[in-house]
Symmetry: D5
Subunit: 142 residues, 10 copies
Amino acid sequence: MLVHLLYASRAASPVTAATIDSILHQSLARNPGIGITGVLCHAGDVFMQVLEGGRTQVNELYNAIVRDPRHRQVMLLHYEELPERRFGSWTMGHVRLDRINPSLLLKYSEKPQLDPFAVSGQASLALLRELVATAQIVGRAG
Amino acid sequence: MLVHLLYASRAASPVTAATIDSILHQSLARNPGIGITGVLCHAGDVFMQVLEGGRTQVNELYNAIVRDPRHRQVMLLHYEELPERRFGSWTMGHVRLDRINPSLLLKYSEKPQLDPFAVSGQASLALLRELVATAQIVGRAG
Amino acid sequence: MLVHLLYASRAASPVTAATIDSILHQSLARNPGIGITGVLCHAGDVFMQVLEGGRTQVNELYNAIVRDPRHRQVMLLHYEELPERRFGSWTMGHVRLDRINPSLLLKYSEKPQLDPFAVSGQASLALLRELVATAQIVGRAG
Amino acid sequence: MLVHLLYASRAASPVTAATIDSILHQSLARNPGIGITGVLCHAGDVFMQVLEGGRTQVNELYNAIVRDPRHRQVMLLHYEELPERRFGSWTMGHVRLDRINPSLLLKYSEKPQLDPFAVSGQASLALLRELVATAQIVGRAG
Amino acid sequence: MLVHLLYASRAASPVTAATIDSILHQSLARNPGIGITGVLCHAGDVFMQVLEGGRTQVNELYNAIVRDPRHRQVMLLHYEELPERRFGSWTMGHVRLDRINPSLLLKYSEKPQLDPFAVSGQASLALLRELVATAQIVGRAG
Amino acid sequence: MLVHLLYASRAASPVTAATIDSILHQSLARNPGIGITGVLCHAGDVFMQVLEGGRTQVNELYNAIVRDPRHRQVMLLHYEELPERRFGSWTMGHVRLDRINPSLLLKYSEKPQLDPFAVSGQASLALLRELVATAQIVGRAG
Amino acid sequence: MLVHLLYASRAASPVTAATIDSILHQSLARNPGIGITGVLCHAGDVFMQVLEGGRTQVNELYNAIVRDPRHRQVMLLHYEELPERRFGSWTMGHVRLDRINPSLLLKYSEKPQLDPFAVSGQASLALLRELVATAQIVGRAG
Amino acid sequence: MLVHLLYASRAASPVTAATIDSILHQSLARNPGIGITGVLCHAGDVFMQVLEGGRTQVNELYNAIVRDPRHRQVMLLHYEELPERRFGSWTMGHVRLDRINPSLLLKYSEKPQLDPFAVSGQASLALLRELVATAQIVGRAG
Amino acid sequence: MLVHLLYASRAASPVTAATIDSILHQSLARNPGIGITGVLCHAGDVFMQVLEGGRTQVNELYNAIVRDPRHRQVMLLHYEELPERRFGSWTMGHVRLDRINPSLLLKYSEKPQLDPFAVSGQASLALLRELVATAQIVGRAG
Amino acid sequence: MLVHLLYASRAASPVTAATIDSILHQSLARNPGIGITGVLCHAGDVFMQVLEGGRTQVNELYNAIVRDPRHRQVMLLHYEELPERRFGSWTMGHVRLDRINPSLLLKYSEKPQLDPFAVSGQASLALLRELVATAQIVGRAG
Ligand SMILES: Cc1cc2nc3c(=O)[nH]c(=O)nc-3n(C[C@H](O)[C@H](O)[C@H](O)COP(=O)(O)O)c2cc1C
Ligand SMILES: Cc1cc2nc3c(=O)[nH]c(=O)nc-3n(C[C@H](O)[C@H](O)[C@H](O)COP(=O)(O)O)c2cc1C
Ligand SMILES: Cc1cc2nc3c(=O)[nH]c(=O)nc-3n(C[C@H](O)[C@H](O)[C@H](O)COP(=O)(O)O)c2cc1C
Ligand SMILES: Cc1cc2nc3c(=O)[nH]c(=O)nc-3n(C[C@H](O)[C@H](O)[C@H](O)COP(=O)(O)O)c2cc1C
Ligand SMILES: Cc1cc2nc3c(=O)[nH]c(=O)nc-3n(C[C@H](O)[C@H](O)[C@H](O)COP(=O)(O)O)c2cc1C
Ligand SMILES: Cc1cc2nc3c(=O)[nH]c(=O)nc-3n(C[C@H](O)[C@H](O)[C@H](O)COP(=O)(O)O)c2cc1C
Ligand SMILES: Cc1cc2nc3c(=O)[nH]c(=O)nc-3n(C[C@H](O)[C@H](O)[C@H](O)COP(=O)(O)O)c2cc1C
Ligand SMILES: Cc1cc2nc3c(=O)[nH]c(=O)nc-3n(C[C@H](O)[C@H](O)[C@H](O)COP(=O)(O)O)c2cc1C
Ligand SMILES: Cc1cc2nc3c(=O)[nH]c(=O)nc-3n(C[C@H](O)[C@H](O)[C@H](O)COP(=O)(O)O)c2cc1C
Ligand SMILES: Cc1cc2nc3c(=O)[nH]c(=O)nc-3n(C[C@H](O)[C@H](O)[C@H](O)COP(=O)(O)O)c2cc1C
């Protein structure tokens, strides 16, 4: 059973390139073996991530992520059983939100910042889809 | 929570280029900081304006606008919670209705004049969308 | 409130070019002032006309037309309140049905003649829309 | 082809019981022979009437009514081809609106008076249906 | 054109029975003459009110209410053109929320308190409808 | 923002009445203060629980539950933003599945045992709703 | 494959009780063996009949009926493949239309007479269903 | 009232080019005068024909065709009242099924032969529409 | 994953009470252990059976049934993944079709006999549901 | 009656090119004569096959396939009556899954392998359709 899980969290300490590298490194090491695909965004101290894969694998990973001390306030935004993946082409895609047009963020929120804690899960999902549609995700790996 | 508010009003005294400039100036000064986007139309002594943004911010601004002595008969035409903005590309776009093809006005009303007081909010909204679709809004600022 | 009224009638005496000219002349003189747009068709002794505009104006004109001695058997085919005009580009367009492909008439009726008295209002409306879509209306005047 | 026509008008002179009696008398004399059924309402100087029957018969009667000097401002509110009559049990039912609960009128209009000229045809039709549903029509004649 | 407007606000000073009496008194004095119906709720320092009636009348009243110094943070929750009133039986009904079952409030919000500022307009409207359906509105006046 | 979260897990050690009492005790102590309502089922070593409430509160509690050493394999079954609670009448209802008719379990799964790990989230949710509809939940507390 | 066929015709000579008896007699003799069910109506010189059964059987019977010299102008009104019969309880039910309330006929046609030649197949089918629903069919034979 | 009738039949004797010519000749002679359009297919001893036109005309022709000794087992496949013709461009189009790609026949039936007696009317209609869409009908005559 | 499988077959030799007893006996012995529920009908030499349960279990049983020499022409009528069982109350219900009202069979087929080979799977399923709804299934075992 | 049947199975012994050749050979020899079309996929020891054709023919073939000792665990994934074939262009197409992009498999399942036993029939059908759409089927034979 394929599921799609979207969550947000806040970094426990200021996010550096090394933090991101380390997370992406862990993801690329572990996700292919367990059939997980997805996308990781961050902006300021906010993370937002999609995880797609088998229901058991996604939940095991999510439970590990919930316990990860590098962030807190881990909050589910959307969860759904899916007939097919939507982000299946990324082992773990990465969006560099500092390079995103602010009006794209404004389209889905009150202020031109990423703030998934303030909007509905649908709005965050819509933003992610628009990022895919406008090819703003790096790290494609089929 | 994003909302979309559309209202009409009548100028308290004849509208001059200076009046419009002053309003647009105020809008460009204040709206970006509070995440408001929208479009302002006027024709003769009639104003019609869309305000989009956070529910609190839009209402605070609308309440200020209701009290503004430069116009009267401020009347809501449409109000809606929205998953995403429709006019998100304009800090405050401007439509010079004296340059609009009269048959566009006629399409949505009994006479070839802007008269939002006489038609349903849906018709006014449809006119605004056709103005966007036909690229008749100036002052784009993302 | 915009309405759309479609009716048919039969000429009281054989229709000449002068009859048509006189009606179109009256229409072009009066309709723009009262915001009426539409299309007039005729074929043999049959008239079919769309009137669009404010509800009051369309009804006043229709009541005048009902009393006009140049035709009889005035019969409503369709009447509807509309959010926007469908024939808003014609002060009073004119269709020269003698120049129409007979298979277009056949598509909507039992015989290849215009006979709105024998078919539903929807069929007459569909014929009119196909005339618009295939650009068979003259007298465009925006 | 069955049609349903709803119109409103204003009496040319103050309406007396005799006016109403005379109209109902004419209706009961003529309608059964031509298969017309319907309902007549009046309130103050306003008439509102439904006519149902064959398309030809309804239009002939409507054209006579348009010319009747006892009223003016005859205005169509609704017109529709129908698979079956809605008011088929009344040769010409009569609603004594002075006996109607004002809150029923208020439900469909801005003021607690019958004013079909100010509201959409749908609202007038909805009011008529509620009158039928609450058995406020007299003169049943199957 | 009938509209339905729902808003919330916060009292400028602690709400006493006298404040409520004075507002209801003003409402009963003015609303019938301008065809306004509706319901007023309050709980703690929060007001929530529905206004139904003609579009012009509702907006004039709302603009007066926006300016009323007895409350602040006046915020639109819902606004809609309606074919028929939903609260047409109350000149201005009143809900004593201190007598309401807390689980009814909990059903529509995070905490068992009235907090229209924190929930969508739809949720507030749903709560109001459940209050009507469970006959918790006093002051019926047809 | 109200959310509805449904998950399953397996007890880390055999479930005793004391385990259940302790969990229910904790729930009744903490949930009312944070506006959480829901239902807890267990059967053999399987737990299944619904949590409803504010998005932040539900996620904080869920993250605590994920870390609770008394169970493992915590797996999300369903997660949804809701306009209104479905289980709002229970601070934390309890279903004694050992008293449930086995054919009710069979209706939604391959074997007559509770096995949320083997069926879709929708099926588990449907079972829970049938438990509510057939009044098999104890511990009602409004 | 089950089909439903509805047709009308006009008797070649005045219909007597003997004509009807003879047709019903033939129907009851032949229809059960070939799995045909249905209803026969007549009024004046008009017949209207539903035939339901296997596609081959219904067509064979219809072709025989088309050739039957006792009537002419045999005209299909409705034909449909069906998942289940609608008139399956009648080997050949009979409606004595001279005993039917005229307002039932008026409901579906311009005049209070049975005239399937003048109305759509849907209207004739609707009349037949209302006859079934109001138990006006005799000759039930399961 | 326009109708669309589709039937199949089997030739009484082997079909020769002369049989087809004679039928098409009769059709072209009679159909235009009575406003009938359509398409005739044949394959082996099977005929399949669409007739479109006024309800009276189509039925008169169909009744003549039922009696035509050149074929037997005449069986209705589909019959429908239509707002507009689907085959209005052919006085009587002709499909030479021996030239059709067998996989087109296979798409709609169990064997790569035309066998309307074995499939639903919808499947035969779908085949005919695909023949039109792929321009496999000859004898276009507008 | 729950599935629902409906098939028909023909007995290899005349069906006796002993044959049925033996099949039901086998079913009651094996089905509960593998979570299979369903209904078995027979009439003359025709069997029709529903099997519901886990996808693997239903297919294993069906493959055994396909190989069972007591019948032949085993033919699938319907197969579907289901969120919940429809026949979950019967370990293996039994319908004595010789006691069924023939008009019930006639409702879904050309002749008043059970002939699932001649009708669509939907029709057979509809018959089965009507048997359940009219409580004609024996052997309830919850 | 056309049906569409999709099943999966596991090879009884390691699959060699000769096994596949032999099956395809049998298929090409027998299927055209009985009007069967379809597609055969295999990957590792898993087979997945679509069979389309007449209901009787597909079931006869499926029953033969169920008994074929070259594979076991034959399991239905999808079965449906169809108005038209979806794979009508292949006597028996063949997909060489070892040449398929793994991300296509991943899109529909938890791991990048073909595992129809673990996913719903809809997912397997969706994968097959994408193989058709992306032209990955060989052995086209019209
Ligand atoms: C924002 C964020 C996203 C993460 N995403 C993933 C991921 O996609 N895959 C992964 O394996 N680990 C991810 N991790 C790391 C896990 O939380 C955890 O550290 C990692 O899986 C540790 O695995 P381990 O059990 O091998 O130590 C993420 C961590 C953070 C903070
Ligand atoms: C038709 C009209 C439209 C206006 N639109 C805006 C606007 O979009 N943003 C804004 O800040 N002020 C707008 N204003 C001005 C406000 O009413 C008010 O004067 C301004 O916000 C005052 O701000 P202040 O509180 O800083 O004096 C508008 C005024 C009018 C008459
Ligand atoms: C078929 C027909 C169509 C007509 N259409 C129009 C029209 O579109 N506008 C118009 O003003 N008069 C139209 N007329 C003329 C009116 O019936 C009427 O003669 C005219 O409005 C008279 O105007 P008056 O009141 O100025 O004499 C039409 C007449 C006929 C017979
Ligand atoms: C408000 C109103 C409603 C009327 N309704 C009807 C009616 O339903 N049937 C009718 O025959 N005449 C009705 N009439 C009268 C017609 O206008 C007209 O006077 C009548 O049909 C004259 O018929 P006559 O041609 O026999 O003189 C109505 C008149 C008015 C003013
Ligand atoms: C919460 C609230 C609700 C009110 N509702 C109404 C109302 O329904 N009708 C009304 O006339 N005034 C209402 N008022 C009072 C108006 O704001 C305003 O004071 C009143 O209409 C003044 O009328 P005046 O112009 O006659 O002084 C309300 C005030 C408050 C604070
Ligand atoms: C199956 C299960 C269900 C639980 N449900 C709740 C609950 O509804 N509310 C709650 O406060 N704690 C619940 N708990 C307990 C929490 O996991 C955690 O122990 C508790 O909230 C600890 O609170 P503390 O932070 O006060 O120690 C549950 C634990 C388990 C194992
Ligand atoms: C209006 C009408 C309805 C008929 N209905 C039936 C019928 O339902 N069943 C039937 O067998 N014959 C019916 N018949 C008679 C057939 O047309 C035909 O005479 C009869 O089937 C002759 O059968 P035969 O071939 O046995 O002579 C009907 C005839 C008429 C005029
Ligand atoms: C398969 C088939 C199709 C026919 N199609 C038509 C047709 O479309 N139009 C037509 O007039 N006659 C058609 N006919 C011929 C009629 O059955 C009949 O012979 C013809 O209309 C005789 O006309 P008549 O009454 O002038 O002799 C067709 C005959 C057959 C066998
Ligand atoms: C019409 C028919 C229906 C059957 N239904 C069932 C059934 O529901 N359950 C079952 O276990 N066997 C059923 N059987 C018997 C199986 O075909 C098979 O004989 C039985 O499962 C043998 O089991 P065995 O492997 O234990 O010998 C049925 C047989 C027939 C002919
Ligand atoms: C995976 C698989 C797929 C098959 N597909 C077909 C097929 O499409 N057509 C076919 O005739 N036989 C197919 N067969 C072979 C049949 O199972 C069976 O062996 C064959 O029809 C035997 O035919 P026979 O009765 O002529 O010996 C397939 C076998 C396997 C194992």
